[in-house]
Protein backbone atom coordinates (compact mmCIF):
# COMPACT_ATOMS: atom_id res chain seq x y z
CA UNK A 1 0.00 0.00 0.00
CA UNK A 2 1.14 3.57 -0.71
CA UNK A 3 1.15 6.05 2.17
CA UNK A 4 1.41 9.79 1.77
CA UNK A 5 2.55 11.68 4.87
CA UNK A 6 2.10 15.35 5.83
CA UNK A 7 4.11 17.01 8.59
CA UNK A 8 2.62 20.33 9.60
CA UNK A 9 4.53 21.30 12.74
CA UNK A 10 8.11 22.28 13.34
CA UNK A 11 10.82 20.06 14.84
CA UNK A 12 11.65 19.87 18.56
CA UNK A 13 8.77 22.14 19.68
CA UNK A 14 6.26 19.54 18.50
CA UNK A 15 6.45 15.77 18.39
CA UNK A 16 4.86 15.61 14.92
CA UNK A 17 8.12 15.17 12.94
CA UNK A 18 9.21 12.41 15.35
CA UNK A 19 5.93 10.50 15.24
CA UNK A 20 5.88 10.77 11.45
CA UNK A 21 9.45 9.47 11.28
CA UNK A 22 8.64 6.38 13.35
CA UNK A 23 5.45 5.84 11.34
CA UNK A 24 7.28 6.00 8.00
CA UNK A 25 10.03 3.65 9.21
CA UNK A 26 7.43 1.16 10.45
CA UNK A 27 5.44 1.39 7.21
CA UNK A 28 8.50 0.67 5.10
CA UNK A 29 9.55 -2.17 7.42
CA UNK A 30 6.15 -3.73 6.76
CA UNK A 31 6.67 -3.59 3.02
CA UNK A 32 4.52 -0.51 2.32
CA UNK A 33 5.67 2.33 0.12
CA UNK A 34 6.06 5.95 1.23
CA UNK A 35 6.77 7.78 -2.01
CA UNK A 36 6.51 11.28 -0.58
CA UNK A 37 6.48 13.26 2.67
CA UNK A 38 5.10 16.80 2.41
CA UNK A 39 6.18 19.52 4.87
CA UNK A 40 3.69 22.32 5.49
CA UNK A 41 3.02 25.13 8.01
CA UNK A 42 5.95 25.19 10.49
CA UNK A 43 6.79 21.65 9.35
CA UNK A 44 8.97 23.29 6.69
CA UNK A 45 11.46 24.10 9.46
CA UNK A 46 12.50 20.44 9.55
CA UNK A 47 14.34 21.04 6.28
CA UNK A 48 16.96 23.53 7.47
CA UNK A 49 20.49 22.16 7.28
CA UNK A 50 21.64 24.72 9.86
CA UNK A 51 20.06 22.93 12.81
CA UNK A 52 22.64 21.96 15.45
CA UNK A 53 20.97 20.07 18.31
CA UNK A 54 23.06 18.91 21.30
CA UNK A 55 25.00 15.73 20.51
CA UNK A 56 22.98 13.53 22.86
CA UNK A 57 19.72 14.52 21.12
CA UNK A 58 18.22 13.14 17.95
CA UNK A 59 18.98 15.12 14.82
CA UNK A 60 15.60 15.34 13.17
CA UNK A 61 16.74 16.74 9.83
CA UNK A 62 19.64 14.27 9.52
CA UNK A 63 17.29 11.41 10.31
CA UNK A 64 14.91 12.43 7.54
CA UNK A 65 17.71 12.99 5.04
CA UNK A 66 19.12 9.53 5.78
CA UNK A 67 15.74 7.79 5.65
CA UNK A 68 14.85 9.50 2.37
CA UNK A 69 18.16 8.48 0.83
CA UNK A 70 17.85 4.88 1.94
CA UNK A 71 14.26 4.44 0.74
CA UNK A 72 14.01 6.96 -2.07
CA UNK A 73 11.41 9.16 -0.37
CA UNK A 74 10.58 12.49 -1.99
CA UNK A 75 10.79 15.09 0.80
CA UNK A 76 8.85 18.10 -0.45
CA UNK A 77 8.83 21.44 1.33
CA UNK A 78 5.98 23.82 0.48
CA UNK A 79 7.47 26.85 -1.24
CA UNK A 80 4.95 29.41 0.03
CA UNK A 81 5.22 28.22 3.63
CA UNK A 82 9.02 27.97 3.34
CA UNK A 83 9.53 31.47 1.95
CA UNK A 84 7.43 33.00 4.73
CA UNK A 85 9.65 31.28 7.28
CA UNK A 86 13.04 31.98 5.71
CA UNK A 87 13.80 28.62 4.13
CA UNK A 88 15.33 28.91 0.69
CA UNK A 89 17.09 26.61 -1.71
CA UNK A 90 19.88 27.93 -3.91
CA UNK A 91 17.61 28.83 -6.81
CA UNK A 92 15.14 30.70 -4.64
CA UNK A 93 17.90 32.49 -2.72
CA UNK A 94 19.36 33.76 -6.00
CA UNK A 95 15.95 34.69 -7.37
CA UNK A 96 15.03 36.60 -4.20
CA UNK A 97 18.46 38.26 -3.90
CA UNK A 98 19.28 36.59 -0.58
CA UNK A 99 22.86 35.93 0.52
CA UNK A 100 22.32 32.38 1.78
CA UNK A 101 20.32 29.23 1.33
CA UNK A 102 19.58 26.62 3.94
CA UNK A 103 17.76 23.58 2.57
CA UNK A 104 19.26 20.26 3.61
CA UNK A 105 20.19 17.43 1.29
CA UNK A 106 17.30 15.20 0.36
CA UNK A 107 14.66 17.94 0.65
CA UNK A 108 13.31 19.89 -2.30
CA UNK A 109 11.15 22.99 -2.43
CA UNK A 110 8.03 22.82 -4.54
CA UNK A 111 4.42 23.92 -4.72
CA UNK A 112 1.27 22.90 -2.88
CA UNK A 113 0.22 20.96 -5.96
CA UNK A 114 2.60 18.26 -4.76
CA UNK A 115 0.43 17.80 -1.67
CA UNK A 116 -2.75 17.36 -3.72
CA UNK A 117 -0.96 15.07 -6.14
CA UNK A 118 0.20 12.95 -3.20
CA UNK A 119 -3.40 12.72 -2.00
CA UNK A 120 -4.48 11.54 -5.44
CA UNK A 121 -1.67 9.06 -6.00
CA UNK A 122 -1.43 7.36 -2.61
CA UNK A 123 -3.87 4.95 -0.94
CA UNK A 124 -3.79 6.63 2.46
CA UNK A 125 -2.82 10.10 3.59
CA UNK A 126 -1.66 10.49 7.19
CA UNK A 127 -1.19 13.91 8.79
CA UNK A 128 1.03 14.76 11.72
CA UNK A 129 0.76 18.21 13.24
CA UNK A 130 -0.52 20.10 16.22
Amino acid sequence: MKFGVVISEGPYTHEAADTAYHFVKAAIAKGHEVPRVFFYHDGVNVSTRLSVPPQDERHIQNNWTALAKEHDIDLVVCIAAAQRRGLLDQNEAERQGKDANNIAEGFRISGLGQLIEMGIQTDRLVMFGD
Binding site: V6, Y40, H41, A80, A81, G111, L112, G113, L115, I116, E117, G119, I120, D123, L125, M127, G129
Partner: protein, 135 residues
Protein backbone atom coordinates in the same frame (compact mmCIF):
# COMPACT_ATOMS: atom_id res chain seq x y z
CA UNK B 1 -8.51 3.92 -7.82
CA UNK B 2 -11.13 6.46 -8.99
CA UNK B 3 -10.04 9.24 -11.35
CA UNK B 4 -11.63 11.83 -9.12
CA UNK B 5 -11.15 11.60 -5.38
CA UNK B 6 -13.21 13.20 -2.69
CA UNK B 7 -11.09 15.70 -0.77
CA UNK B 8 -12.32 17.22 2.48
CA UNK B 9 -10.57 20.17 4.08
CA UNK B 10 -11.40 20.19 7.78
CA UNK B 11 -11.14 23.59 9.44
CA UNK B 12 -11.30 23.55 13.23
CA UNK B 13 -9.26 26.63 14.12
CA UNK B 14 -10.08 30.32 14.36
CA UNK B 15 -8.38 32.80 12.00
CA UNK B 16 -5.45 35.17 12.81
CA UNK B 17 -4.35 33.67 16.17
CA UNK B 18 -2.54 31.01 14.15
CA UNK B 19 -1.79 30.66 10.44
CA UNK B 20 -3.69 27.40 9.89
CA UNK B 21 -6.84 28.99 8.46
CA UNK B 22 -4.94 31.07 5.90
CA UNK B 23 -2.63 28.25 4.82
CA UNK B 24 -5.62 25.91 4.58
CA UNK B 25 -7.26 28.33 2.16
CA UNK B 26 -4.04 28.42 0.12
CA UNK B 27 -4.19 24.64 -0.29
CA UNK B 28 -7.85 24.83 -1.33
CA UNK B 29 -7.07 27.43 -4.01
CA UNK B 30 -4.14 25.46 -5.44
CA UNK B 31 -6.02 22.17 -5.11
CA UNK B 32 -8.93 23.52 -7.16
CA UNK B 33 -6.80 23.20 -10.30
CA UNK B 34 -6.69 19.42 -9.86
CA UNK B 35 -10.42 19.04 -10.53
CA UNK B 36 -11.14 16.74 -7.63
CA UNK B 37 -14.42 16.58 -5.70
CA UNK B 38 -13.70 19.19 -3.03
CA UNK B 39 -15.63 19.99 0.15
CA UNK B 40 -14.75 22.23 3.06
CA UNK B 41 -15.86 21.49 6.62
CA UNK B 42 -16.05 24.18 9.29
CA UNK B 43 -16.55 23.00 12.84
CA UNK B 44 -15.41 23.86 16.35
CA UNK B 45 -13.51 27.20 16.23
CA UNK B 46 -13.26 26.84 12.44
CA UNK B 47 -16.72 28.42 12.15
CA UNK B 48 -15.16 31.73 13.24
CA UNK B 49 -13.29 31.83 9.92
CA UNK B 50 -16.51 32.61 8.08
CA UNK B 51 -17.89 35.43 10.22
CA UNK B 52 -18.83 38.81 8.76
CA UNK B 53 -17.15 42.06 9.62
CA UNK B 54 -13.56 40.96 10.07
CA UNK B 55 -11.30 44.02 10.19
CA UNK B 56 -7.60 43.29 10.56
CA UNK B 57 -6.29 46.83 10.13
CA UNK B 58 -5.45 47.14 13.80
CA UNK B 59 -3.32 43.99 13.90
CA UNK B 60 -1.52 44.66 10.63
CA UNK B 61 -2.37 41.26 9.18
CA UNK B 62 -3.98 40.64 5.79
CA UNK B 63 -7.74 40.06 6.02
CA UNK B 64 -8.26 36.89 4.02
CA UNK B 65 -11.97 36.48 4.76
CA UNK B 66 -13.04 38.00 1.37
CA UNK B 67 -11.20 35.12 -0.32
CA UNK B 68 -13.94 32.73 0.81
CA UNK B 69 -16.36 34.64 -1.42
CA UNK B 70 -14.12 33.95 -4.43
CA UNK B 71 -14.13 30.18 -3.94
CA UNK B 72 -17.10 29.79 -6.29
CA UNK B 73 -14.91 31.05 -9.15
CA UNK B 74 -12.61 28.11 -8.40
CA UNK B 75 -15.56 25.72 -8.48
CA UNK B 76 -15.27 25.15 -4.75
CA UNK B 77 -18.96 25.27 -3.89
CA UNK B 78 -19.48 23.01 -0.88
CA UNK B 79 -18.80 24.70 2.44
CA UNK B 80 -20.33 22.62 5.22
CA UNK B 81 -20.75 24.42 8.53
CA UNK B 82 -21.70 22.54 11.68
CA UNK B 83 -24.81 23.86 13.40
CA UNK B 84 -23.83 22.69 16.88
CA UNK B 85 -20.45 24.44 16.58
CA UNK B 86 -22.24 27.69 15.66
CA UNK B 87 -24.69 27.37 18.53
CA UNK B 88 -22.00 26.59 21.10
CA UNK B 89 -20.32 29.84 20.08
CA UNK B 90 -23.47 31.97 20.16
CA UNK B 91 -23.56 32.29 16.39
CA UNK B 92 -26.25 31.78 13.78
CA UNK B 93 -25.98 31.52 10.01
CA UNK B 94 -26.78 35.25 9.88
CA UNK B 95 -23.40 35.96 11.47
CA UNK B 96 -21.61 34.34 8.53
CA UNK B 97 -20.60 35.93 5.25
CA UNK B 98 -22.86 35.31 2.31
CA UNK B 99 -20.92 33.03 -0.02
CA UNK B 100 -22.43 32.02 -3.36
CA UNK B 101 -21.57 30.30 -6.59
CA UNK B 102 -23.07 30.22 -10.05
CA UNK B 103 -24.42 26.78 -10.91
CA UNK B 104 -23.43 25.97 -14.48
CA UNK B 105 -25.86 23.04 -14.53
CA UNK B 106 -28.77 25.33 -13.66
CA UNK B 107 -28.39 28.24 -16.12
CA UNK B 108 -25.75 29.88 -13.87
CA UNK B 109 -28.25 30.47 -11.10
CA UNK B 110 -26.64 31.98 -8.01
CA UNK B 111 -26.74 29.54 -5.11
CA UNK B 112 -25.44 29.57 -1.55
CA UNK B 113 -22.15 27.71 -0.98
CA UNK B 114 -22.62 27.51 2.78
CA UNK B 115 -24.71 24.59 3.95
CA UNK B 116 -25.36 24.41 7.66
CA UNK B 117 -25.46 20.76 8.71
CA UNK B 118 -25.99 18.91 11.96
CA UNK B 119 -23.13 17.19 13.78
CA UNK B 120 -24.43 13.80 12.66
CA UNK B 121 -24.55 15.00 9.06
CA UNK B 122 -21.01 16.34 9.40
CA UNK B 123 -19.88 12.93 10.61
CA UNK B 124 -21.49 11.37 7.53
CA UNK B 125 -19.77 13.84 5.23
CA UNK B 126 -16.42 13.05 6.85
CA UNK B 127 -17.02 9.32 6.45
CA UNK B 128 -17.72 9.75 2.74
CA UNK B 129 -14.26 11.05 1.76
CA UNK B 130 -11.14 9.60 0.16
CA UNK B 131 -8.70 12.16 1.54
CA UNK B 132 -9.16 14.26 4.69
CA UNK B 133 -6.79 17.19 5.21
CA UNK B 134 -6.94 18.76 8.68
CA UNK B 135 -6.09 22.35 9.50
Amino acid sequence: MPDVKKFLYVNRKAPYGTIYALESLEVVLIGAAFEQDVSLAFLDDGVFQLTKGQNTEGIGVKNFSPTFRALGDYEVTKLFVERESLEERGLTEADLQEITYEDEDDDWAEKPSIRVVSRAEMAEIMADQDVVLSF
